[in-house]
Symmetry: C2
Subunit: 96 residues, 2 copies
């Protein structure tokens, strides 16, 4: 299993636009990717502009497939237009 | 829903001891906490000493209850003995 934590800082005022794009993306992932076990947008407590996508995939291939979907590629510019800086994406291997 | 990402840097050489304590804790959480929806230890890709616990709770009360369990309190010194520095724990509110 592969874990991903993608940290995203958003421009103040763009929260609603960003959250809607995130919710649209989550719905598509949930509907289409059985190998994506968790794909959840969260907002950091105490912050107005810091978010993460918390993600778990059954395998490296499932993570790769996620990145190649049309809807993920289409979401990039929508989410990117709301960012205040470069995303910080970290990848993890399960300990079990 | 509440998300938690707890980042832990481990002393080199203590990985096996740390992972065993983490696995013991995960088993107890899974067996006893229906309100804890995710409780998974991960090791950062490309790092020998960086780990996270990726956690999701149904509610703030479930998170609070987790911290009050005897086994969580007992795990603290075992995990802590392996750390190379202070843990960095971030808390998140779900976007849905």
């Amino acid at each position: 299993m592969i874990g991903v934590v993608a940290k995203l800082k958003i421009q103040d005022g763009k929260q609603a636009e960003f959250e809607q794009a995130g919710k649209d993306l989550m719905a598509k992932v949930k509907a289409n990717e059985p190998g994506c076990l968790t794909y959840q947008l969260y907002k950091e407590k105490g912050s107005d502009t810091d978010y993460i996508f918390m993600e778990q995939y059954a395998s490296q291939d499932d993570l790769k497939a996620h990145g190649q979907t049309d809807y993920f590629k289409a979401a990039g510019p929508k989410l990117g237009a709301c960012l205040a800086g470069a995303p910080n994406v970290q990848y993890f291997d399960i300990v079990e």
